[in-house]
Amino acid sequence: MVKVDRINISNEGLTKFFSPIEAQIMEVLWENDEMMTSEITKKTNIPLSSVAGTLDRLVKADFAKRKVDKNGQRIRYIYSATTTANNAANAITTRILDSLVDTFGAVAIENFSNYKKNK
């Protein structure tokens, strides 16, 4: 599952918020405007059997979108990210901050302030 609601802070990079396959696919989609399924499997080097279900989940979770394209007799999906990497980072950060403030209130806000000063 796309797991923004189940963050694993001990993981590296995007796998804090996505599964490793989801993270690889999202990175490819953020780097490219539009991609076919075959291009995604080639770029990520992940077999179709794993990519297909993950793409369905990313579309359902609204991180990716797709359209059906007919090229001659061949049917194919064209995928793209629903938003840029920066906008996604912004949305994820906002959700995490909201959650921290909901739980810890003033302490969380004070920590953000200290964090900013230290930076």
């Binding site: 399924t37 297909a52 797709r66 007799q73 049917i75 999906y77």
Partner: protein, 225 residues
Amino acid sequence: MKSITDELVCYATCINNSELLPMILFFIGASLLLFMFYMKTQTPIHRIISFAGAQTSMVGAIAATFSTMECSRMFTIEVYLAYVSISTGIMIFLPGLYYKILIKRHNARPISEIVDWADEFVNTLANDSQVYYFDSAIPKAFASGKTIFVSVGMLEIFNEQELKAVLAHEAWHLRHNNKTPILRQLSLMTFTKYRPKQELELMADRFAEEIVGKVPLESAREKLI
């Protein structure tokens, strides 16, 4: 109303005193023999026939046992008859309605919107059938009622010949979809596992091979591994 223990004693007494005992034993024996044949044979059609025969013999044994009962208002018989009536009703009427639920659930669309030959091809194999496609990257196809469902993921990875192999396979299921509920119902009535699925898939594959040849069928199968 008797307790279950009383009913079991009643069954044993009535069967022992009944003239139908040889018939019950015959049905049980026939069922065991047919099931042994089912386990031994490798031919799909023989496996399906022997499985159905074994199940039918078991139903015969159950019916004969019930008819030996001299006690009135047997609770187990009433429960069994209600179970059989309800499950038979579901098995007969569900396939005719279920495809409509599937169309809605998968938000499926007629395949004629994106593939122009599929409906015509399937109709040459199974009359009055229709093909729908649905939004999923996972390569998947299945049949229900008079309808074949194909995912966009399947349309993506298969060429026309491979897709014809899949549609022919599913069309075989449509052609026999009035018989498979009977097999399921026999399993329900005898409380045994529904086993012939693998044989049915093999027979559908053989039919697809007759229609499109071995090469597209095998390459389609390889792409799904």
